[in-house]
Amino acid sequence: MSTDILRIGQSGARAARASIEVTAQNIANASNPDYVRRSLQLEEFVASAIIDYNPSDALSGVRVGAINRPGNEFLTARARDTAADVERAQADIAALRDAELGLEQSGLFRGLVDFEASLTLLESDPTDPALRTGAVESARQLAVTFQSAQAGLTNARDLAQGALEAGTRETNNAATELARINTELTKVRQGSASYSNLLDARDAALRDISSEFSVSVEFDEVGAATVRLVSTPAPSGEAGPVLVDGVNANSLTATIAADGTASFTLDGFDFTPVSGAQAGRVSALSDLSERADTLDAIALSTITRANNAQANGAALDGSPGQPLFSGSDASTIALALTDGDGLALAPLGSPAGSSDTSNLQSLVAAIGADDGPIAATDRLLLSLSSRISGLETTREGLSIIANNASAELLNETGVDLDQEAANLIRLQQSFEANSRVMQVATDIFDTILGLN
């Protein structure tokens, strides 16, 4: 009998020590974001035998079972999806803010207003060479400003495209990693420490993918993940094309069209992502492509209005007005007229030196019209900044939701140091109590041996 007691005590001490190891592991990984808290499953161990129809059992202590890893698929998916939404808004805002900075810093609006002012100033004395030179220089400045605004937009688009390509590479790397993890998962025993470790790595890879694309994930019986990228359009009956299926990872490619918009191809299927940072970048790139078209249209309208007015007027020497600007969009606009005397302020057919300003007035009116370049630039800036402002509000809301989801998930899966400290004390006591049991068994044995 006393050997039974000794065995029970020993199994208890072993279980306590194993539990302390798990607790120590939890504490060591308390600040590891990919780690899910572990616990040790313990089972009562009873040895039983049946002799002559009389059941006879012997208590045999405790058995160390599997390592448990709490997982909540619903909470994890929710945390992933809400984080992807925040990433989407974030990436969209980042790209648009670059564009806003470029457009505002170029001083396009101010350049147009100054051009208008330098023309209005000519009304006081249209023959003054100083004022004429001032107006031409202001036009030259305006052409440079258009190019710098265009460069600002291009810069924002280049940055977004670079980020898009980097995000695609990261997604492909994470997909390859996930396929490897899926392979490993089939090889290790469930309930082992390595199994939990692989599940942690699997969730980390899924999180990496879902920060770029929103995903739809299914797990098989061993926990291997099948990942689809949620997309529009989607293959019929599915959320999107398959990125990882078991041990196979499909390669994702990003295509940037000539107009600067982006699209993706996966598993032979062309799609646009629904959420995640890449979706934000796609939306920002298509937005920026439209803004660039608008900027080009404003430049063209400035060129056309100025050149039309010039064509209807006479220069200071009475000759017909020559074009003020050359080029056809924001990147090619340049000053064509270099001499202030060439500004056609008087109507066509006026004699040399005429101080008639009627053609100048129609030019000023054309530049300042409600559908003219000044008003259009204001609308361009207003709509861009309104969009950013709206997205920022959206992002704040999404952040709150994502923070809540992540907190809920952490409560379920994260390490609580107070809990671990309490466990540590409890397990230490349990270990000491089991040692005491072994000592009692020894005492009993000694007592029996000491009987005379």
């Binding site: 009304e123 861009l384 609580d416």
Partner: protein, 304 residues
């Protein structure tokens, strides 16, 4: 196993979010105070940014109109000076005509008067071609050349036009730049078109020729009266216009202040307000940092 757990990670995440939000706010206020500008970029307040752009345009336009008005005033003052000179000339010519009409003048006296009249005509011709500060003719309308030219035979004719350019000096207000030489120097006497130059030159010639000089001088008085009328009329027009420009300049100053006030209202930092809010945020930040340290020290491991 089901229990309510508060993972340590959650606590740190939450604290980090709260502290960095407070810090962002404080930095934002600090930037507003340092730059004196409330809106650093359009997306912080799109509507206000657009209104600021509209105000900037008004401000620039206001500055342009002020310069235009100042220039217009100079031109009008210069015109007024020239016209007042012309009025003096005609008055002197009238005195001379009255003297010439007197039979007591001998031939020498009439010749002297004729000489002076020719001088006056010369000076009037010079004044009729007066230029502005930048060299443009004052009385030629929108034409580029001189207002009056003299033919080899001595006849003076108007080569300007009757169009007067306008200058925009306020939204919707355009003031005519000057007056034209034809209105100033040309008129009709008894239905016959003539000019101030013609009246003076004819009088001088008649006085010199000696055939009924007093009669010619008497006759010239009607022409001189008309010339004086025309000059006076135009002097009044120019004077009124200059007064109008001055009134508009006062208006422009008020409008500029108005625009600056609105810009400040929309775009400038309200220092008192922001400093108080910065202080409030800093207090909250300090308190949060202190409580964060305290709470994060509350771990069971300290008790083991």
């Amino acid at each position: 196993m089901s229990f309510i757990s508060n993972a340590s990670g959650t606590f740190y995440d939450r604290s980090l979010t709260q502290l960095s939000a407070l810090r962002d706010n404080a930095e934002n206020f600090q930037t507003q105070i340092a730059t004196g500008v409330r809106i650093q970029r359009g997306s912080e307040d799109p509507i206000a940014a657009s209104r600021l752009r509209a105000l900037t345009r008004l401000e620039v336009r206001g500055e342009t109109e002020e310069q235009n008005a100042a220039r217009l005033r100079q031109d009008l003052e210069e015109s007024a000076n020239q016209i007042s000179g012309v009025v003096d000339l005609i008055q002197r010519a009238r005195e001379l005509a009255v003297q010439g009409a007197s039979d007591t003048q001998g031939e020498n006296g009439r010749n002297a008067i004729a000489n002076e009249l020719e001088q006056l005509a010369e000076e009037m011709f010079a004044r009729s071609n007066a230029t502005s500060i930048t060299g443009g003719p004052l009385f030629a309308g929108t034409a580029g050349g001189p207002a009056f030219t003299r033919a080899p035979d001595g006849t003076v004719s108007y080569t300007g036009n009757s169009e007067v350019g306008t200058v925009a000096v306020a939204p919707g207000t355009e003031i005519e730049r000057s007056i034209t030489g034809d209105g100033l120097f040309q008129f009709e006497v008894d239905g016959t078109p003539t000019s101030s130059f013609e009246v003076l030159t004819n009088l001088a010639n008649d006085l010199r020729s000696g055939t009924d000089p007093s009669g010619a001088a008497q006759g010239a008085l009607a022409g001189l009266d008309e010339a004086l009328n025309a000059a006076n009329r135009n002097q009044t027009v120019v004077g009124t216009r200059a007064a109008w420009v001055e009134a508009i300049e006062d208006d422009q100053a008020v409008r500029a202040i108005n625009i600056a006030e609105k810009q400040s209202e929309i775009g400038d930092t309200n220092i008192a307000d922001v400093i108080i809010r910065l202080q409030q945020t800093l207090t909250a930040l300090e308190a949060s940092q202190t409580t964060f340290t305290r709470v994060s020290n509350l771990t069971l491991f300290n008790a083991i």
